[in-house]
Point group: C2
Chain length 360, copies 2
DNA sequence: GTTAGCACTCGATATATGAGAGTGCCAATA
DNA sequence: TATTGGCACTCTCATATATCGAGTGCTAAC
């Protein structure tokens, strides 16, 4: 990653500067560094090293005769090679777990509720903007469909997806339908499609149902014609939860009005979140994206620590967004742990006898 | 409202000051007022009147030797007695209507989608924070319930409520259930409860089903025991849509960091919205709340223009929130019109043959 | 290789100054 | 009697100026 290997001293200095700057948001000078960390070197020596680091592109000076601050590349080196993840305290683990698991032990929550409470906890704990995506159900396996007549030609399709996820859709037919025809249709669908991944179904319903015969073919026809919607991947900008805008707006790096407004606008449009966190889904593990590494101009002052969570074949992602000056060593632990807990909680087959409110 | 009747001149001056201040966000002085509006009076005369208005509590000076700005009470008089609602242009009406009605004429949207697009349009048009509540279904009339087995003891209850609103809930039973028993149960429920308001049902299910006999009584029992959830009024802080935080943050009155952060925090917690807009539901019509008239400290610099929308017996509300310095005369027209259109659109029985995605 | 010393830079802070907009008051006016 | 012109005064805002302090780069000495 770095185009030349840093010396031991350079590593130390870089690390200390990053830590100091993360803590203070103040450019750090040679003298301060020596004093604060009780270094056994003179400021002049530090200055020389700083100069080298600056030439290597890891530090910059906001202006002549100010201290140095890390560049994105500087943070990158720090994150990849220098920092040690900071373990969570028992209390922190408990905070996260309690929030994700939820208070009412007798009450099973759906994914939206779980993630909503998760981002609240995550935002509160990190004092940053916490973000999460609901799971993308179209990665999952189709279990079965039920068709319910709602009267006036409306039909409710209820899709059951592995691990207890549910998706409901209202379809409409001009003719009235009887429940017998609905049962027949759902029977055919379940027989032919059960156990297949949603994605596969979306691509191949037509062929799979081509030779199906039903007494009342118009329902089957409706299903096939609407299959893009029924077996759809959810809209990219749906199922996003976030929390902590005041946190992020309080950060000194957003004192600039312009920057703040553009960030908020980007958040509201959700494109940013989708682009930044969307790519993280179903990938390996926790990722850190720093400053200009984010393609989007609006958040080139921001970093993102994100991790996928996995529930069976279905997955989503969660993470935090904040200024590049963030406490990476702590955040990787927090985000990683949160993602694990969410995986765990959403993966539990609901065994409690209570009810979940899938839609408000 | 005002504790003394204002003279003709006082009315004029107050009105002009309000208009000028709304336009400029600059305290307005006597000389400026005369020049800008070509008044046939000398600045000295205006000063006398201004002094009177200040004593009446309708104007204040930010500091000695600055111009005047209206107080909340000043705005109140203006809104109640002086201003004339500004009619919407054809184009503005079209903008609102198009957003609420939606683009795909062949696609029926659910309330959440409609309101989401509505607040976007409303926020964009007013350059303020637009807010809406989804309808409170528990004001509505229960049409029927369908019970669908999802396997593993899970049952999906689908409630149909007048005007095509839908509510689904997952219930859980330790035993497995057969569809016959479910049909029997839903039959009993529909027979006894159909046509009743949800609210009434919530209060009286027990009595109404006391003497009901079913071959498999445990499902009926589950329904009764879970009735608080099934026929619940939705959580106060659910079903809220808002859009336009960047708009509001760009307003000069939120240059103050502190104020901005506290407003954003309040918004995220949603309590503010609930308290401010929540009360407006099912009430007469459009309401305007100005500055300190809002009980909440966080938004004592804000005003709210809100209106209920009504769909049959069910209603919700929508409106805009912004600094007290807002263009009331225009906003009342916009909010009123938007509420009407939303009422209309949500009230339409869905006749299109297409499908709605009720849950993501 | 490390360090002390020194001249220099530059942002931040405090202070002074003047311009401009506005006010209140009072005596003159129609 | 209501209106007005005139005047002294107030207060903010913008600008200019001086000073302080943290920090730098460079060089010569250790």
């Amino acid at each position: 990653m770095s185009f030349r290997t840093l010396t031991e001293r350079e590593n130390t200095i870089l690390s200390l500067i990053v830590q100091s700057y993360i803590h203070d948001c103040t450019p750090v000078g040679s003298r301060t560094l020596v004093r604060r960390f009780g270094l056994d070197l003179s400021p002049a020596t530090i200055r020389n090293t700083m100069n080298d680091l600056e030439e290597a592109g890891l530090l910059i000076q906001p202006h002549t005769s100010a201290g140095r601050i890390p560049t994105s590349l500087g943070y990158r080196i720090y994150v990849d090679e220098l920092m040690a993840p900071k373990p969570l305290s028992r209390k922190e683990r408990a905070t996260i777990r309690d929030a994700v698991v939820g208070e009412h032990s007798g009450h099973i929550r759906d994914a939206a509720t779980v993630l909503d409470q998760t981002v609240r906890a995550l935002g509160g704990l990190t004092r940053l903007l916490a973000v999460s995506f609901e799971p993308r159900l179209d990665q999952g396996t189709f279990e079965k469909i039920e068709l319910v007549s709602l009267g006036a030609g409306k039909i409710l399709a209820v899709l059951t997806i592995e691990k207890g996820f549910l998706r409901t859709i209202v379809l409409e037919l001009e003719a009235t339908v009887n429940s017998e025809a609905l049962n027949e249709t759902s029977g055919i669908l379940n027989e032919r499609l059960s156990g297949l991944p949603i994605k596969i179904i979306r691509e191949s319903v037509r062929e799979r149902l081509r030779d199906a015969v039903a007494k009342d073919p118009k329902i089957l026809k409706l299903i096939v014609n609407s299959s893009d919607d029924i077996f759809a991947s959810p809209q990219e900008d749906e199922g996003i939860h976030y929390w902590g805008t005041p946190n992020i707006l309080s950060q000194p790096e957003f004192a600039d009005r312009e920057r703040m407004v553009s960030l908020m606008g980007a958040l509201e449009e959700k494109e940013i979140i989708v682009r930044v966190l969307g790519g993280h889904r179903q990938e390996g593990g926790l990722t850190i994206t720093i400053g200009e590494e984010n393609a989007d101009g609006e958040i080139k002052f921001c970093s993102v620590v994100a991790s996928p969570y996995v529930v069976g074949e279905v997955s989503g992602s969660l993470g935090v967004l904040g200024p590049t000056r963030m406490e990476y060593s702590k955040l990787v632990s927090i985000v990683d742990y949160t993602a694990r807990i969410v995986s765990e909680v959403l993966g539990e087959e609901s065994t409690e006898k209570d009810l979940t409110d899938e839609i408000a």
